[in-house]
């Protein structure tokens, strides 16, 4: 089945396609889910898509920075970076990791696109790798915000500010670009594995996210399916780990010399 193109836009080396018109309710939130530690962001995002029944409204492609790949979903051809939306929520989802130069450009053009869609808050959810994750059962969630307005949303949630340390990878770039564009962004980081898919960490992020947006998202199904998800996500995880190593992800374990 062919992709219906309602609207097409070229931003830098990226092609944004919308399959149908969509308008977000205010205040609108955007989630950007990219592969990172424990695939925490993408596993969580996929659960949100299913739970809130988000509709696939568009996609992003690039011949310069994405592998020559299409996604076939229920017999329909989709672009490698997928855009979902419903009510006040826009969700951008990719299982493919871009090279660093591509990630820099995508961060810029994606945030520009999201801003033009009328999004007020950007929520980034990922894992923060801890070396003793094997032993830890009660996971802590940290947050980083780019503005006082974004911090307001975290007043009554079960998350603690991330005070000192490094953040390496795609989300570090998105935060830098958010600051540059003066966007209100929130980064949620739950303790996780680095090299293994970690659905439990995704569930913890979702609990915090649902408090932020004031919408209930049940994670029971995600936790029940955790083992199956860990099996399904093995190949994606394997490819992501290699890219994270090239980005020097292990630098996150380093305490800064000066705070």
């Amino acid at each position: 089945m062919y992709v219906e193109v309602y609207r097409e836009e070229f931003l830098g080396d990226f092609r944004f396609i919308e399959y149908k018109p969509f308008r977000l309710q205010k205040p609108a939130y955007a989630i950007i889910a990219l592969p990172d530690a424990g695939l925490v962001g993408v596993i969580g995002a996929w659960h949100i898509v299913k739970s809130l029944e988000l509709e696939e409204v568009g996609g992003i492609d690039s011949y310069s920075f994405l592998p020559p790949v299409i996604v076939v979903s229920n017999k329909e051809i989709k672009l490698p970076v997928r855009i979902f939306a419903k009510d006040d929520l826009l969700l951008v989802y990719s299982e493919f990791m871009l090279p660093q130069a591509g990630m820099v450009q995508l961060s810029r053009v994606l945030l520009n696109y999201i801003e033009r869609k009328g999004v007020e808050y950007i929520v980034l959810m990922s894992g923060i790798p801890i070396q003793n994750r094997f032993e830890v059962e009660k996971l802590r969630t940290y947050y980083i915000t780019t503005s006082p307005k974004a911090s307001e949303l975290l007043k009554d949630v079960e998350a603690i500010p991330f005070e000192n340390g490094y953040l390496v990878g795609p989300y570090a770039l998105l935060l830098k670009e958010s600051i540059k564009l003066r966007l209100d962004s929130i980064m949620l980081l739950t303790e996780s594995f680095l090299e293994f898919p970690d659905p439990e960490a995704s569930a913890k992020n979702i609990k915090v996210f649902s408090r932020i947006i004031g919408k209930s998202i049940d994670v029971k199904d995600l936790l029940e399916q955790a083992e199956v998800i860990r099996i399904r996500a093995r190949d994606t995880m394997k490819n992501v780990v290699r890219n994270l190593a090239q980005m020097r992800k292990e630098y996150e374990y380093t305490p800064p010399l000066h705070i």
Binding site: F196, V228, R230, I231, K238
Partner: protein
């Protein structure tokens, strides 16, 4: 100090420098070889699918050198913990584990949808000879930790 002593002292110094250079070059060469081997292993692993037509899955694993030991973590979701079998031979660790129930890819991918998976299998190579009496294995929620002391 006589000229012979002076010469002897100089000669010893030259030999010391020569030995340090040789040790340095050998160490750097060993590290470079290890990096190349790791790179080849990682490319091999990347290109190898994580499942086989023979009906087994290959688990994700990671090997960490922590100085006095190697720590290996394996992710074995849906494995029957009682069936996890870890064996050692030379510098190899051989892992097998039965799945709690047969599993098909059919719901997720059209590729390999006809195959039913029954177990995990993996062989991990370490750069040292493993002494089984110096190994500790622990299992928690489908994840295995193997500590191999050097």
């Amino acid at each position: 100090m006589s000229i012979e002593d002076e010469f002897e002292r100089l000669w010893r110094r030259i030999k010391e420098i020569e030995r340090s250079i040789r040790e340095y070059v050998e160490e750097e060469f060993r590290k470079a070889l290890e990096d190349i081997r790791n790179e080849i292993r990682s490319i091999d692993r990347m290109l190898m699918p994580s499942w086989s037509h023979e009906g087994y899955l290959r688990p994700l694993y990671t090997v960490k050198d922590v100085g006095n030991a190697y720590i290996i973590y394996l992710d074995l979701p849906k494995a029957d913990e009682g069936s996890i079998d870890v064996r050692f031979k030379g510098n190899l660790i051989m892992i097998k584990a039965k799945l709690k129930e047969g599993l098909r890819l059919s719901n997720w991918s059209s590729r390999g949808s006809e195959i039913k998976f029954h177990e995990y299998r993996e062989v991990i190579e370490l750069p040292i000879r493993i002494d089984p009496s110096k190994v500790r294995v622990s299992i928690k929620r489908g994840r295995v930790q193997i500590v191999v002391y050097k």
